[in-house]
Symmetry: C2
Subunit: 187 residues, 2 copies
């Protein structure tokens, strides 16, 4: 993809996520095109259906999440941050996303966090691998209890995302609730 085409794609995805989050999944494509500063035809050429657009947003989100996790893992390897902080920071950022962006939470629920649904779909598999990498690093460093496996961590993470979304947690409630979960996860 040429650089300007890639920029165009990013701009449309960003605008789409903004508009769909603000107005709901029924928001018209013309509002997304206006927000992105492109013609309606440009959006339709890239994403012929709303479903294709929604899938692309999810895949993009998952890519960013996996990239964030990889960066945290690399920083841990380099000794820039400790493995416990990397793991808990990533856990927090996922739940924060679920609280603040409904579409993000849906993406996670549909494609990312639910282990059964996540096998390869929309990049969810990469996110699972990233979570496991951060978990194992944190356990090796003695920051997370070793009897907490990936299924338990995904259960806690998914539960926090679902509850945050359903109960509309504010930042303070999220912080206090995650503090309890994190204390339970510590070695």
């Amino acid at each position: 993809m040429r650089a300007d085409a890639a920029r165009n794609r990013d701009r449309v995805l960003e605008a789409a996520e903004f508009v769909l989050t603000r107005d709901g999944l029924d928001a018209p494509i013309r509002d997304i095109a206006r927000q992105a500063g492109v013609g309606v035809g440009t959006v339709y050429r890239q994403y012929p259906t709303k479903e294709a657009l929604y899938q692309a947003i999810m895949a993009d989100r998952m890519e960013r999440l996996a990239a964030h996790a990889s960066s945290l893992a690399a920083q841990t390897d380099a000794g820039t941050i400790d493995a416990g902080s990397a793991f808990f920071t990533f856990f927090d950022s996922i739940v924060t996303g679920a609280t603040t962006k409904t579409i993000f939470a849906d993406a996670l629920t549909d494609a990312g966090i639910d282990a059964k649904a996540a096998s390869g779909e929309a990049g969810g598999h990469d996110v699972l691998i990233a979570i496991e990498t951060l978990l194992v690093q944190a356990q090796r460093a003695g920051a997370v209890r070793t009897d907490a496996g990936l299924p338990e961590v995904l259960g806690l993470l998914s539960g926090a995302c679902l509850a945050a979304k359903q109960q509309h947690w504010d930042a303070a409630l999220r912080e206090r609730t995650l503090a309890i979960i994190f204390d339970g996860l510590r070695a």
Copy 2:
């Protein structure tokens, strides 16, 4: 209500919960009547619509939950069990219900655990009060950290119920995941 009418009502509710859990919410009334050993007319007289029946099951469930909590609170007052065990037992029994009975989980989600939806509806308010009573008892006894308020506890409980239902937790995964949450909640 006369004693035999009350027994009849209990039998219909029990049969309805069994059949709806097994066959889904679209199960026909005649299957429920057959399971209860009563005529279809008897069910329709008590519950003219499926919605009325569903509401009655939810209210009944909430009543039982609140009664269970009251009994645990009374046992704590009497010194038969410690306040921490009472609180964690109740937490566990709610999540177990969410894992094993979909209709129960729906009832909890719709009417019981979500604080916003629960105010007075289908007995959900009684369950919230019961949870708060057990929480305060456990905190006074030094078994649960005092900075965990009702919103955090409901967040954790609701998250565990939602994740258990969505991810189909088995008993072992439920036990291991709740152990992490409970360790986080301890004083």
